[in-house]
Symmetry: C2
Amino acid sequence: MRATVIHAPHDIRVEEVPDPGIQHPTDVVLRVVRACICGSDLWAYRGESARRPGQRIGHEFLGVVEEVGPGVNGFAVGDLAVAPFVWSDGTCGYCAEGLTTSCAEGGFWGSVGPDGAQSDGGQGEAVRVPHADGTLVKLPAAAASDDRLLTALLALSDVLGTGHHAAVGAGVGPGGTVAVVGDGAVGLCGVLAAKRLGAERVIALGRHTARTDIARRFGATDVVAERGEAALAAVRELTRGEGAHSVIEAVGTEQSMRTALGIVRDGGSIGYVGVPHGSATGVDLGVMFGRNIALRGGVAPVRRYIPELLPDVLDGTIDPSPVFDRSIGLDDVPVGYKEMDERTALKVLITP
Amino acid sequence: MRATVIHAPHDIRVEEVPDPGIQHPTDVVLRVVRACICGSDLWAYRGESARRPGQRIGHEFLGVVEEVGPGVNGFAVGDLAVAPFVWSDGTCGYCAEGLTTSCAEGGFWGSVGPDGAQSDGGQGEAVRVPHADGTLVKLPAAAASDDRLLTALLALSDVLGTGHHAAVGAGVGPGGTVAVVGDGAVGLCGVLAAKRLGAERVIALGRHTARTDIARRFGATDVVAERGEAALAAVRELTRGEGAHSVIEAVGTEQSMRTALGIVRDGGSIGYVGVPHGSATGVDLGVMFGRNIALRGGVAPVRRYIPELLPDVLDGTIDPSPVFDRSIGLDDVPVGYKEMDERTALKVLITP
């Protein structure tokens, strides 16, 4: 089959790779119907996070079950299903409490195991899914013929659940004020999730009107286009000089964390889901201490959230599909990376 | 009157200072009945946090109302009352929601205001209490003649409320497992607070048996005397290799935060109340991100907690008095600092 491979920074190729097959009784093989490129894939693309030359890439996908291992109970050939960005066994203590990202049997799509084995990435024609019963979530068959809905459902594999995790970590609840740092797909889904959780006021920070227009559509009540100190002042002005109770940090740089700390209200929470990168964190414990700021979040256990978010996506209560502003076939994946790297595309949808 | 003054690191004196009087209608003057020395006073003593030469010191005290400003409604001459370590107006938005440490009208005992005015410290014969209605909490008159109870009630001014804040930040609840980093009075009160909140298992880290004996008396189910990597391994062995859901960080050094991160379970919380000092924080955001660790806490709004904790101290449900292992008069305060600095005393009680 054909799949996306990263050979070096800025060297992404779509190549012939071995067809996936059942290796363990709990596997299924999923024929990928939709996949996409993530902001975090760009860290590998830019050489900021290491990849083995020739490693597979892509961790967001949904598809149709093509082959089923003898130990799988919940899926049959032909089922439509979405995969979270981490697989997990669904049975351990961590999975039972919903922290699927800490499952000892879990792993990231496209990763290389301790034994050197290469798992399939999501940006390809098919994927071997380990621990299918614990990992996949079934979707209604009718969704397969609804293009807009398929796109919205794909967001369940990462960005919608990650935005939701940030909103939960930030303590968003009915009537609250939320500020969102990061105008990428995760930040925008954070806006959507915050609104869904009942936030009264949602302040989106961003300068690109194409993106802030989506933020408004997702429920942002205010947009702050200023940068640096002026952005902090603008948010404080919107919040009686105090800052926002809840701040979503959806970038992961030192600067974005400093911004988050600068706009959070005393006693408030920062929900952090931006993958930390760079040498400094921007976490100033002295400032946090004096102001009683909480920091909650991390890699989102999206598998836990899919059953909660799915009904709202299916009935149209929330529609994350506008974060996908570019649609390509598998051959164009290298172009998709380039467009996202240059910020001419927000999030690229792939139909293999 | 006589009060404690810090002139330079290791130069603590008890001197004649101006008698306090009513300066604002909302003041009272409190004759100090009991005060004490705090672990955080030692940062000034050791020169690790700056003080103006000749500055007053001490922030934990209870006493009898001696003079009442015309704007005070809740107190009369002769009332016994305890002061939290920060005064606050009791009426602003932050006070209303219990975050009294963020009150714009608030301040620390012994601090020097922006106008250069010196507020009274707690380690003296009397204190002018600003915003008395918002700050002080009345105690039953009968407590004045009960030496053990007076000592226990003094812990409400800081260490008991701070330990409770750490336990709340660490997410302690019925049935949980808690590990406590720090064997000082705050850490020990953290043990007591965790037990009170229903923790099933409380693991105290410490090597000094005099302190760990108090920890056991306060409800610790396990004591880990190992240090460094061996301590992490010991806590993990006690927790099925996973670590504790809740960790109380009651020291404030880089090493103590690293220990806290090393023994917290994935998805758990660190309640941090140790005043951060030193150039590095020990906060490793990359580790926290991957394991979904939350960090919650800061300077404890103990004023908020006193009404909740007071009944349990009065009826003996909890008794923090054992953290005071040395009792002195005002003249001996310099000796008290020396003993706490050298760790021959855990916490020094002062009867002026």
